[in-house]
């Protein structure tokens, strides 16, 4: 691992939420390096702060304290415009519930990302990559969950992000669809060298990662390495 350059560096990251009178201290000093081109899986109990951490990595949230840098540049203090710029240019998101725009077709949903990206793929090409060229003009309501998630992936990869963030991307999918999505993610990771950070509850999936980070008590409790990550289709559970 250490031969890869560090893409992102999180130093002593804290995040506190104010809920009425009470301050909920979710992250209490996370230190984590994310290496370029790796597949990092984040694990932890429900409510441990995985999504919170991921949001900060992806620049849709900012730490209450601590520093996050991307390619050496501190993004933890950026204003809204610069932070938006960061997300637009560098990050691809895949959400648990797909989050497609219901009034736009598959192709148009992908276009929402390509339209504002600097060097995007053709949206149709992105859909082809996820095997959905047949369903380009279908609306989310006309697609199955797995298909919707593939559209969401196409939307994320179409802009050639350096960093892909997937928050339980298969949480709402059955086994078959899960494998398909994971294969896609892995292929992307291996073929284009896209850095990938994924949250998952499924223990089995950790075997395809380069590294696995465990969150507990608001900190990275443990980081384990896989010398030889498995292929997605080899996973069994």
């Amino acid at each position: 691992m250490t031969n890869r350059p560090v893409l992102m560096k999180l130093e002593n990251v804290h995040r506190t939420f104010q809920v009425g009178e009470i301050a909920v201290h979710v992250l209490r000093g996370v230190d984590l390096d994310i290496y370029a081109g790796e597949l990092l899986i984040i694990q932890g109990e429900s409510g441990s702060g995985k999504s919170t951490l991921m949001n900060m990595i992806g620049g849709i949230d900012q730490p209450s304290q601590g520093k996050i840098s991307f390619e050496g540049q501190d993004i933890s203090q950026l204003g809204d415009r610069r932070l938006t710029r960061f997300r637009r240019d560098q990050v691809g998101f895949v959400f648990q519930f797909y989050n497609l725009v219901p009034t736009l077709s598959a192709l148009e949903n992908v276009a929402t990302a390509t339209e504002i990206a600097e060097n995007p793929m053709n949206p149709a090409e992105a859909l082809d990559l996820v095997g959905l060229s047949e369903r380009m003009h279908h609306f989310p309501a006309q697609l199955s969950g797995g298909e919707q998630q593939r559209v969401a992936m196409a939307r994320a990869i179409a802009k050639h992000p350096k960093l892909m963030l997937c928050d339980e991307p298969t949480g709402a999918l059955d086994h078959e669809n899960t494998i398909m999505i994971l294969e896609l993610l892995q292929r992307l990771n291996r073929e284009t060298g896209t850095t990938m950070v994924m949250i998952t509850h499924a223990q089995a999936m950790t075997r395809m990662a380069n590294r696995i980070a465990f969150i507990a008590d608001g900190k990275i409790a443990k980081v384990s390495h896989n010398a030889t990550p498995l292929l997605a289709k080899e996973l069994i559970w």
Binding site: G58, G92, N99, T103
Partner: protein
């Protein structure tokens, strides 16, 4: 087209019902705004070209008789650019086929056509010729109403001689855009005439060689500001010749009526639309907040993948501005049409050489800008939500809606008395306070417009009722040129058909209190007379004091005095000695600013034998008696004006019925747009928001009608409450607007019948019931199965 714009189009298509509801309200508002201001501009344009082509005077002085030479010298007074002297009399026309002699104003014009002050515009026929002395030009409106055409011969009683006159033409004049006979309220073209005769003929027939009794003048442009002062100077100079009236253009009847109408239009063009625009803005806010909530995750996702706040803000702004623009453009079209309707109504009402509806691009632009402005205001709250939406937050599942008990639930007795459906409705309304408030406010606005409309009708009815049934109880007024003695009264009492007759002694005078002057007249009436009954604002008769005056409140206000004070009175006729008379009590007069006094006392303070200026009579109503009465009156020497109160009342009712009922229907339709718009908007939002809830009801076995009834009850509750709030608001508006309409000539009572309140509530209920059809259709079109399985 960008992807966001494509999404915009789809969103617009999805909520077009709601947008239409909002746009329709905006359209009515902008329509009224553009329509009324266009109509006002049409009138203003017509007026200014008419005034300048007729060379309308700036000042008018009516007097007894003055040498023309003397008057000509007045042109030397600084500020006066031109003076014209003329002869003008009230005469009676004796038209074939009409029983009643018809009062007519006769004015002299030069024998040879020249561009004099207060000139005429010939409409048919031609100006006077050289040949005959007795040629006349009559007013177009009167000619039309009485079917008189050039070439006809008519008979008139001129200076007590029956003369044959030859009609050579018909004409209009800027001096009489709106013409009302003395003592009347409205322009009833057939009942009061206007004709022009040759100057030489007028001099001969009235014995006015080298003399005049009417002076009109033009002011130098820079002196127009000082019209009042110059009028005063002129009237002082002419005082020895018995000045009856001295008026600036602003005080002259026809220009004053036009000014009043324009002021009214210009005021209403801002008051009325504001209701619609406020409601539209509130509804739009509700709609946009709902949209922002509905699209919470979509917006969060778009933000997460790199869309900037600004782009999303514009996206939502476009959504609202589309509604604004749609409403605004519809409103402009509607306004142009409305201005056309208005203008056509004015054509019947006012006589102008040319009054047409024109398109004013600047007004349309203003209308569009206002609609865009209000639609942006309608987006602010929703956009606030969007801007503040944190993408990380939006990704989290939405917190379940607040579920705590509402305060009503603590009133146990009341709460447990309700069935579950009412409980649900009340909870929903109280938890969504903002939206409920908007719905209630909209209903209140709608209802206040309905109340206002009924109030206009009630008030005008009340005015007619008070004027003709309470104050003036006579059938005819016979007004004489000169003061008559008591034998005239006896003579009239013996006329066929006369049941009762009472004398009136009219003293034209100037009232003065310090430096407030006001030209008016005192009416001496018998103290316990049956035919004239001064009343207070409540329509109660005020007993005539033995000494002192009863004065119209408005006049007291103008003079800055109150009951108990004294006022200086300078009579215009007779011994011109200033008297100081006490004002005993205020009265209310809807027409003119009347001042009454005891007949005997008034004669006494003027130290003269009792004289009569007017006789008011009550007659039998049979057609033969009427004909006999008319035949006798027709030949009565010295009679100047015959006022037929029955005819006036009819004409007034006819015009009010025509005009007012028509506007009333339009206004109620406008109010309906508010009610429907608000109901639909609210219900459609509620349906979209509570789809899952509704679907669950359907799934557990509720009929569609039962689900619909929830909305019906909710809408009834909201709208009845709103309507009740609107009732006092409407009354308050009515009094305010009536206050705006008050001029020296008229004062309208603000009156609202109890029944009108009931009608308003009934109408609101009717609006709710009829909107239910669309609610049910929308419910029927919902896909409940999808709603149950869909995850928003």
């Amino acid at each position: 087209m960008t992807i966001l714009d494509r999404k915009l189009l789809r969103d617009l298509r999805q909520s077009w019902h709601m947008l239409l509801a909002v746009s329709a309200i905006i359209a009515v508002g902008i329509g009224c705004f553009v329509g009324m201001l266009s109509a006002a501009k049409n009138l203003e344009f017509a007026r200014s070209s008419y005034y300048s082509s007729c060379r309308l005077a700036d000042i008018w002085i009516d007097l007894k008789k003055a040498p023309a030479e003397e008057v000509k010298r007045l042109a030397m007074i600084p500020g006066i650019s031109e003076i014209r002297e003329r002869i003008q009399f009230q005469v009676l026309l004796d038209l074939a086929g009409t029983e009643k002699p018809i009062g007519t104003m006769v004015i002299s014009l030069p024998d040879k056509e020249e561009p004099v002050i207060n000139n005429i515009i010939i409409r048919t026929g031609a100006y006077f010729t050289h040949g005959r002395a007795n040629e006349v030009i009559i007013s177009e409106k009167f000619a039309k109403a009485r079917s008189i055409v050039p070439g006809d011969r008519i008979f008139a009683l001129l200076n007590n001689q029956r003369e044959e006159l030859i009609v050579v033409g018909t004409a209009i004049s800027a001096e009489f855009v709106y013409m009302v006979s003395p003592g009347s309220m409205i322009d009833d073209p057939g009942s009061y005439g206007l004709m022009y005769i040759k100057q030489s003929f007028a001099e001969d027939i009235f014995g006015f060689n080298g003399a005049c009794n009417s002076v009109v003048g033009l002011l130098a442009p820079e002196a127009r500001q000082e019209a009042e002062r110059i009028v005063k100077t002129l009237s002082d100079r002419l005082e020895p010749y018995g000045v009856f009236a001295a008026l600036s253009r602003a005080e002259q009847f026809s220009p004053m009526i036009l000014d009043g109408e324009l002021k009214e239009l210009n005021n209403m063009a801002f008051i009325f639309p504001s209701f619609f625009l406020v409601v539209a803005t509130l509804l739009l806010n509700v709609l946009m907040i709902r949209l922002a909530e509905q699209q919470r995750t979509v917006i969060g996702t778009l933000k997460a993948i790199g869309y900037e706040n600004r782009a999303l803000m514009f996206h939502f702004l476009k959504f609202a501005v589309t509604a604004g623009l749609a409403g605004g453009s519809l409103g402009c079209l509607f306004g142009y049409w409305l201005a056309g309707v208005n203008t056509r109504m004015y054509v019947q009402y006012f006589s102008f050489p040319q009054l047409t509806n024109m398109l004013y691009p600047s007004l349309l632009l203003a209308g569009l800008s206002v609609s865009i402005l209000f639609s942006i205001l309608g987006t602010l709250k929703g956009i606030g939500h969007i801007m503040r939406l944190d993408p990380a937050e939006a990704m989290r599942p939405a917190a379940p809606p607040l579920g705590g008990a509402v305060f009503l639930e603590r009133i146990h007795l009341f709460w447990h008395y309700l069935d579950v459906q009412w409980q649900m409705i009340l909870r929903g309304l109280l938890r969504n306070k903002g939206r409920t408030a908007v719905a209630v406010i909209s209903a209140a606005m709608g209802s206040s417009i309905v109340v206002l409309t009924f109030g206009f009708v009630d008030s005008l009815d009340e005015m007619v009722r008070q004027q003709f049934d309470t104050v003036l109880r006579s059938d005819y007024h016979l007004t004489f040129q000169n003061e008559m003695d008591f034998s005239t009264l006896d003579e009239i009492r013996r006329f066929p058909g006369v049941i009762h007759a009472e004398p009136v002694f009219i003293v034209p005078c100037t009232f003065r209190v310090q430096n407030h002057f006001k030209r008016s007249a005192i009416m001496g009436i018998p103290p316990n007379g049956e035919l004239t009954a001064p009343t207070n604002g409540q329509g109660e008769r005020i007993p005539m004091p033995g000494t002192g005056l009863l004065m119209t409140d408005r006049l007291m206000e103008r003079l800055g005095i109150s009951a108990g004070d004294s006022v200086a009175v300078l009579p215009v006729k007779g011994e011109r000695r200033t008297l100081t008379l006490p004002v005993v009590e205020g009265i209310s007069s809807m027409v003119g600013m009347m001042v009454y006094a005891d007949y005997n006392w008034l004669n006494h303070v003027l130290r003269q034998e009792p004289v009569i200026s007017e006789v008011r009579v009550l007659t039998a109503h049979g057609p033969t008696e009427k004909r006999a009465f008319m035949n006798t009156v027709r030949t009565m020497p010295g009679l100047e004006i015959l006022t037929d109160l029955g005819e006036q009342k009819d004409a007034l009712n006819r015009q009010l019925n025509g005009m007012m009922r028509y506007s009333a229907i339009i206004m109620i339709l406008f109010a309906a747009v508010i009610f429907f718009g608000a109901i639909l908007n609210g219900t459609l939002i509620a349906i979209s928001e509570r789809r899952v809830e509704m679907a669950t009801f359907r799934a557990i076995g509720y009929y569609e009608s039962e689900v619909a009834r929830l909305f019906l009850r909710e809408n009834l509750l909201i709208n009845v409450i709103g309507t009740l709030i609107g009732l006092p608001l409407g009354y308050w508006l009515l009094t305010g607007i009536m206050q705006l309409f008050i001029t020296d000539a008229y004062s309208f009572p603000a009156k609202l019948n109890g029944l009108s309140y009931i009608y308003t509530v009934a109408l609101a209920v009717l609006f709710v019931l009829s909107s239910q059809g669309i609610v049910r259709r929308t419910l029927r079109k919902q896909n409940w199965v999808e709603a149950l399985s869909l995850k928003e």
